[in-house]
Amino acid sequence: MKIRALLLLAVGMAFFFGAGFFQPAAAEELHIFVGAGLRQPVDHLVKAFEGQTGHRVFIDYGGSGHLLARIKASGKGDLFVPGALFYIEKLEKEGKIRSYRSIVQHTPVIGVNTAQAGRLTTFDDLAKPGIRLAMGDPKAMAFGRTAMAICEKSGQKKAILKNVTVYGATVKQLALYVSQGAVDAAIIGRSDAFQNREKITIVPIPPDYFQAEIIAAAVLQSASNPDLAGQLADYLSTKKAGAVFQKYGFLPLQK
């Protein structure tokens, strides 16, 4: 009885631990980290890439800062596509990037709850008393940093920050707050507002207040197959891919 139980346990453990080693060696696999705000176009494009090449791509979505921390801690992964170039530059300084290609612009806009669109028509309205704003945490997310820089540049930072009722950790959280009417407006990505266009009205930010963020795909130093990762990065930066991004509200790179 004792021996049988032991044997059973041994077989069970062999299966449990062995499973990882005995996976069928088929097509190559890629593991990529992508900013949560880029989900729709990247899902679309990666599916097409898998169809064309027969390789498998596993996508890990999350806030760019969160992903950065995970890349650093795990030392794994093939490709990184964050919401701003800033995160790639941070890794580049540590020698963890092989190369990167720029894809599209990530333009900040004011997303206004459609019911409040009459009260908020220009950037200056953000400073009006009684307006409820949501803002990204400036340290934790790409558009939090950008939004803070924009407020600074506008010279109305104090009045605008006074209206902020809540800070969020991802741009999707901010878009949810605006679309649900929990706040009147937030500085979010053009694509986030565009994808909720029934409930969120876009109010542009004066162009001299900001520099658009650039979305790029970076091949990580840890890539197990750098050529294949590079191939996917190339694919994401083609004109055809750019058109898919534009379908979801992103703007093309300025020449």
Binding site: G63, G65, T165, V166, L176
Partner: protein
């Protein structure tokens, strides 16, 4: 059999120790001390203790009577109510939080709350509400189990001896159910301390306003400040450790009451 069980036990212990070691290795002592004294960590700790404390008190005020009601009364649709109260326990807290956000963001609800001068969304009270939604069902479940396990003849005897129903509850039922309810309180509090998903949605992640320890961990991991994140993580782990110790401690001195509880017909 002893040796067969030894291997899984060892593996489990190894896994847990490995996780703790992983969290510990990345933290230097000097950095930990500086971070512990930082205003952000102190704020997060204080807010966590306050919100989880308030949430636990509210959960007890709601859950214990509800548990007693469900244990003693039979009515039509009881199964439905019973299941409904359990439901938040199976919900991902994030889902519960989005639900609360939709509820509180609803125009009618918002206007009536505004008229009463109650501000919940994006305030520490929002965090308390989110935690109550998650922990009150645990309290209800625990107290219900406590009251169900109790022999109702004690209550009947007290009533025939002339105590009013309210007095029976306070002087007989509650003291007899105390050990189980106390462990429920500790569990609720521990769960409230670690609550993240619902709080993030309802209260937001505003530094120095709604930044509880779990939110501080998340924010600081996102902004690459691993030091603060790890110190906050350790504060959470230590809280959990103390809570579990407290539960064992609660278990011992009142074992006599427990034996009383187990007397059946």
């Amino acid at each position: 059999m002893r040796y067969v069980c030894l291997v899984p036990t060892g593996l489990l212990v190894l896994l847990i120790v490995g996780v703790l070691a992983g969290l510990f290795i990345h933290l230097s002592l000097s950095q930990a001390l500086v971070t512990l004294a930082s205003a952000e960590t102190c704020f997060a700790l204080r807010l966590t203790l306050l919100t989880s404390g308030a949430a636990t008190i509210i959960a007890v005020l709601l859950g214990v009577p509800a548990g007693h009601f469900l244990a003693r009364q039979t009515f039509k649709g009881k199964i439905l109510i019973d299941t409904l109260i359990d439901l938040p326990m199976t919900m991902t807290p994030l889902v519960a939080g989005v639900g609360l956000l939709f509820l509180l963001g609803n125009d009618a609800v918002r206007h009536s709350l505004d008229c009463l001068g109650i501000e919940l969304l994006f305030t520490p009270w929002g965090a308390v509400l989110a935690q109550v939604l998650i922990v009150a069902p645990i309290m209800t479940r625990t107290s219900r189990a406590a009251f169900t396990a109790m022999d109702s003849r004690y209550e009947q005897a007290a009533q025939t001896l002339g105590l009013k129903p309210g007095q029976v509850f306070l002087r007989v039922s509650l003291p007899m159910a105390r050990p189980v309810i106390l462990s429920g309180v500790v569990l609720c509090w521990a769960r409230a301390v670690g609550e993240f998903g619902a709080t993030l949605m309802v209260a937001g992640a505003t530094r120095f306003r709604t930044e509880t320890l779990p939110i501080a961990v998340y924010l600081n991991i996102s902004s690459g400040e691993l030091g603060i994140a790890l110190v906050c993580a350790w504060l959470l782990i230590m809280t959990g450790f103390l809570v579990l110790l407290a539960m064992r401690w609660i278990g011992t001195p009142i074992s006599t009451d427990q034996s009383l509880l187990s007397i059946g017909p």
